[in-house]
């Protein structure tokens, strides 16, 4: 479904992603881990089409078609979703109105039910929908809001950029349940970006990739996480560049 080939991305004239390959099939859960500054957010922005992050070489194929020249909204319509590491606050726009426009669901009754079900799954109070988009939300509320939008948009591919950071254990479980539900019900492919192991207690990956300095340096199964836990990222740099 998603094929990233020899991807190079630069921002502000600096190359951040330096030749990255990755393939994600329908329903697969991939975890991408790596130290701060290794290019995880840059990769997510580039996949979603942020104008400041330019693809200078390589390609991104989604269901066989190149998407690298498409605007973010076109990519979204194709079924790509990005949960932001730092969701933006937009004053005056009510969360539920926004989701309604985004989902473009003409059946109001169905939309309302879906929204209400997903909000209860994520243990969000009904009043949330009336609040302005992320305006004055706590860190945890913002992340739940992102997962709610994912659950409503039902993407084919969801990129979750550190959705787990800054959450207490209960919120983490809730968010994980949201991810697993969408993965199961919609058969979404998931690219879960994190630099903590703790969410992997609740979300079971098919593949784990380690990114360092803009490249994937290790790929393996869930056991790679244990290894990482024992040895830290230094082990990756020492043993890096073999696949």
């Amino acid at each position: 479904m998603l094929e990233i080939r020899d991807l190079h991305v630069e921002t502000n004239g600096k190359e951040i992603i330096k030749g990255l390959d990755l393939e994600i099939k329908k329903g697969e859960i991939h975890v991408l881990m790596g130290p701060n500054g290794s290019g995880k957010s840059t990769l997510s922005y580039a996949l979603m089409g942020h104008p400041k992050y330019k693809i200078t070489r390589g390609d991104v194929l989604f269901e066989g078609e190149s998407v690298k020249d498409l605007s973010p909204d076109k990519r979204s319509k194709l079924g790509i979703f990005l949960s932001f590491q730092y969701p933006m606050e937009v004053q005056g726009v009510q969360l539920s109105n926004f989701i309604r426009l985004a989902t473009d669901n003409k059946n109001f009754q169905e939309f309302r039910e879906d929204l209400s079900n997903n909000m209860s799954m994520l243990k969000m109070d009904k009043s949330f929908g009336q609040r302005y988009l992320n305006d004055g939300f706590s860190g945890g509320e913002k992340k739940r809001g992102e997962i709610l939008q994912m659950a409503m948009l039902k993407p084919k591919l969801a990129i979750l950029d550190e959705t787990d950071s800054g959450l207490d254990i209960d919120a983490l479980k809730t968010v994980a349940e949201g991810i697993n539900t969408v993965n199961k019900n919609v058969n979404s492919g998931i690219l879960l970006i994190t630099h903590y192991q703790r969410i992997l207690k609740f979300v079971k990956p098919d593949y784990v990739h380690i990114i360092s300095d803009g490249k994937i340096v290790q790929t393996g199964g869930a056991d790679l996480v244990d290894k990482l836990e024992e040895e830290g990222y230094e082990w990756v740099s020492k043993n890096g560049h073999k696949k």
Binding site: M48, P51, S71, P72, R75, F84, A102, D104, Y132
Partner: protein, 345 residues
């Protein structure tokens, strides 16, 4: 003519004739060019809603006849410049509102042309009032006297060609004023002077403006804290497109007597074009300790990161922009203002 009226007009006319037009080098006029001013009074027409029993809601000439003592007591002829002198020199039309003690009323008016409104609120009374201005009147004015514990909620919509507005309010003990002024006309200068006289009086002033083409919006909002424990909030919020310009001046004066005052002043302007210009000038004069006073201002174009965020959820660039622009006024609008401000850009 009524003796009171002719006295006001005559004295003001003399002042008018003796005054010069403000110069650009005067600080208050630095960002506002005044040319092609025609000092003509023009026609004026007013439509008023019904009023409940006991409440006076009438034209100002009738009021000068029938309630002259109240008018004489509360009408302050404040002449600050040539425009305000002209305003009083040509006073022919306007509105008088009196809400007796303990009464409440919801009123509205539509004003086409120049006018002067005097509002008097008795103790513990309540008024909700919407006034809409249009047409070619050069000046309009509102004076409010808010008695103890009264509450007034005002919405002023200005959609005139070229207008100078004067708005003055004096608040007694524990009186509350909530006033939203929306300006969408061609050239508009609004001067507001809010006097928090009695202790624990509070005012919440919101100025919303929207400019396109060569339109110019100028606000000079002064809040005078006189009583102790007084609270004020002043917010300027504007969207400028094309080559439109604005200046938002907020002045907070805290007198020696105004201990434990709380004052907040802020403005934010959204620029939709490269050529639009917004000026924001805060000024705080504090003569006592034990006060909280803060101010802040932001001016900028639509945030690219916000656009990207909305687009990433499937909204087209145009839809995303519209969302941000419509959402901009949302925190301060009511149903009336939503239509005025979020109509055609």
């Amino acid at each position: 003519m009524l003796p009171l009226l002719s006295k006001i007009r005559e004295e003001s006319m003399n002042k008018f004739l003796g005054m010069n037009l403000p110069q650009e080098r005067e600080e208050d006029w630095r960002y506002t060019t005044i040319d092609n001013i025609e000092f003509t009074a023009g026609d004026s027409e007013i439509m008023m809603s019904d009023a409940p029993e006991g409440v006076i809601f009438t034209d100002i000439l009738t009021a000068m006849k029938e309630h002259s003592s109240m008018i004489e007591k509360h009408m302050k002829v404040k002449i600050m410049d040539k425009f305000s002198a002209f305003h009083y020199a040509n006073l022919v039309n306007g509105i008088f509102i009196h809400i007796p003690d303990e009464k409440s009323a919801e009123l509205s008016s539509v004003i086409n042309g120049a006018s002067h409104t005097v509002i008097v609120l008795g103790k513990n009374s309540k008024l909700k009032y919407t006034e809409e201005y249009s047409g070619t009147g050069l000046t309009d004015g509102v004076e409010i006297f808010a008695g103890e514990d009264s509450e007034v909620n005002l919405t002023s919509v200005h959609n005139s060609k070229k207008t100078f507005s004067f708005k003055h309010a004096a608040l007694e003990r524990s009186a509350k004023l909530d006033w939203t002024v929306a300006s969408v006309g061609e050239f508009h200068r609004t001067r507001m002077d809010i006097d928090l006289c009695g202790e624990a009086a509070s005012s919440d002033i919101k100025c919303a403006f929207k400019g396109r083409n060569e339109q110019h919006k100028d606000f000079l909002v002064t809040t005078n804290h006189i009583g102790r424990d007084t609270q004020s909030n002043v917010l300027g919020k504007g969207i400028l497109d094309d080559r439109s310009t604005s200046v938002f001046r907020g002045m907070i004066n805290i007198a020696k007597t105004a201990q434990r005052t709380d004052a907040y002043l802020s403005s934010n302007t959204l620029l939709l074009s490269e050529e639009a210009r917004a000026n924001s000038v805060p000024s705080l004069v504090i003569d006592t300790d034990d006060v909280k006073a803060k101010h802040g201002a932001t001016t900028g174009q639509i945030d690219e990161e916000q656009l990207f965020y909305l687009q990433s959820r499937g909204l087209s660039e145009a839809q995303a922009e519209e969302f941000i622009v419509q959402g901009f006024f949302e925190p301060i609008v009511n149903d009336k203002l939503r239509g005025v401000l979020n109509g055609s850009t």
